[in-house]
């Protein structure tokens, strides 16, 4: 075991995969000598050189498209977009090309593409640098989407993403980059579509994504003190989504809370809720509850922003909102 931050864990995962497979490439803005704007690719340039760890001009559409070109030529490619908000410039390759090429060519190619991009919510960067846009991506058939919440998962998931012969968007949380975790010394991966039950509980099922997983665990602790026993589930990947684990939990608890930093309307919360409602309606004591940002652009002012990004207190409140709370 060794200790790494979330950012270092991703770095180690990429590094190990690049050692395993000489064909793997990294492309992006400032990913080379500089090591990435948040340091995630630090040292890769030194180890693998500028051919494989490639600083690109500032053009997201071309970066992701070039990565697709490499991928369909048998070179698994990892493209970095510096903030998730900039997926807007690369939406065509991310949604119209990468996840569809194999399909509309009748299976003639595979597209081993990983698009890494961090979510900056809650850091005061303002509305064009703070969005969590995974809801767009789960609506694109053919695309996989990972949202790691801790260092261990981050490493295991990035390795799976890179090995996956299909396009993956790997959504990191800047707010988690410095959090530390214990990492096994031996090779491991975490499969896509397999949720983790972070805490067992009988009263409420709490599904949290990315940045909100640690907050959900804090909330659960606080709630335990109040006699409410919360089961915390981290889906880890939202496409594919391990709905089975969530449903099994809800069948036990009868209550569902979903927490994400993205704005509420059209967010993933609705999708998870509806899938549970469709399949476990009779088990539910009441409607699933969403904890999410309100439907406003994200203001830069710290005071305003902190009222936007969901926090422990919001999660606690949601878990206590059920009418016939058992506890």
């Amino acid at each position: 075991m060794h200790e790494l931050t979330y950012a270092q864990a991703i770095n180690e995962g990429i590094r190990e995969e690049m050692r395993r497979n000489q064909k793997i490439m990294v492309l992006g803005e400032d990913v080379g000598k500089y090591g990435g704007v948040f340091g995630v690719t630090r040292g890769l340039f030194d180890e693998f050189g500028g051919e494989r760890v490639r600083d690109c001009p500032l053009n997201e559409a071309a970066i992701v498209s070039f990565a697709i070109g490499l991928a369909i030529q048998g070179r698994p490619a990892i493209a970095e977009l510096e903030f998730m908000d900039f997926t807007t410039f690369a939406m065509d390759p991310i949604t119209n090309q990468a996840p569809k090429l194999r399909y509309f060519w009748g299976g003639q190619v595979s597209v081993p593409l990983t698009v890494r991009t961090p979510i900056a919510a809650g850091l005061g960067f303002g509305t064009q640098h703070s969005q969590s846009l995974e809801a767009w991506l789960i609506h694109v058939p053919g695309l996989k989407v990972a949202m790691p919440s801790n260092a261990y998962d981050a490493k295991g998931l990035i390795k799976s993403a890179i090995r996956d012969p299909n396009p993956v968007v790997f959504a990191e949380s800047i707010g988690l980059y410095a959090t530390k975790g214990q990492i096994p010394d031996e090779d491991y991966t975490i499969p896509f579509g397999k949720a983790e039950i972070k805490r067992k509980g009988d009263d409420v099922t709490l599904v949290a994504l990315g940045l909100l997983v640690p907050k959900a665990l804090k909330a659960a602790e606080e709630l335990a003190g109040r006699g409410v026993d919360v089961e915390v589930i981290d889906p880890r990947t939202v496409a594919p989504l391990d709905i089975e684990t969530i449903i099994a939990s809800v069948k036990k608890t009868g209550r569902l809370v979903i927490a994400h930093v993205a704005s509420k309307t059209g967010g993933i919360g609705a999708e998870i809720a509806q899938q549970v409602v469709e399949r476990a309606f009779d088990s539910l004591d009441g409607p699933p509850v969403r904890v999410a940002a309100p439907d406003v652009p994200i203001a830069a002012s710290a005071q305003l922003e902190s009222a936007i990004i969901p926090d422990v207190a919001d999660i606690v409140k949601a878990c206590l909102s059920f009418r016939n709370a058992r506890a």
Binding site: P57, F66, G69, R75, D92, Y103, F104, G107
Partner: protein, 317 residues
Amino acid sequence: MTLSDEQQIEALRRMWQIRFFEEAAIRLYGEGRYRGSTHPYIAQEATALGVCATLRPTDQVLATYRGHGAAIAKGADPRGMMAELLGKATGMCKGKGGSMHMSQTDVGFLGCNAIVAGHIPIAGGVALAQKLDDTGAVTAVFFGDGASCEGVFYETLNMATLWKLPLLFVVENNEYAISTHVSESISVPNISMRAQGFGLPGVTVDGRDFYAVYDAAGEAVARARRGDGPTLLEAKTVRWGRHSAVAAGPAGANIDKWKLTDPIPRFKQELLQRGVVSEAQISDIERDAKATIDDAVAFAIESPYPELSELQTDMYA
């Protein structure tokens, strides 16, 4: 590079195949045998052949939705193409792609793309892979004057030049993007002039002249194989008339002008003059091309539609 007689004969054959393929595509659309749309390559055949005659089987070609010509020129199978057009299970993409997404990777045809210019930066990545593979292979990417207005085209010009990629940009300037004339959409008289802002060679040739295209493409491909980087090749051409089988009335060049500049009779004439073929041989080639396409049509019509279970296949590798 010099062209053998066989190569020139094969080029004529494929030009005819393209012409007959597209005529059949329009006819079959009219008969209601498929839906969506199709974008005929008619009158542009000399460009696809002029470029592809300079390529090896291991080179790669990417094209737009108006890409049946490039497909045939790169050696794609007309049966698979025609079946694809009709959405049949025997189509090269199992019917999932249709007219605008044909591809046949085993002959180096990395497909048509229905997003205008979307394939240009993908071609950049393909060329980067080739450069890293270091086998001397090159990529040619075909696109229209309209496509040359999309930002990703310029992004790719910059990156390809910067990284000296073995990439041949072939912009087919047929003067129109649907209804929009180049004079209304492009701020310079020749699209090849864009190259001046990016530091790569830019060349304009008559796209209806097989030999002119071949010579310019040959130089560009040689340059790319040497590791000297990309070239922007503008092939000036005309559009037969309608943008697509569904588009409203002709907005492009009218049919009289088109007949005067038809690249196929012109190429035929040159082949005769150069003594590559006789009149009789030419008739044989034309007949043979016709037979190939007729066979493809029959094959496509007889082929079954995909099973509904095919909906769920090919999504993930």
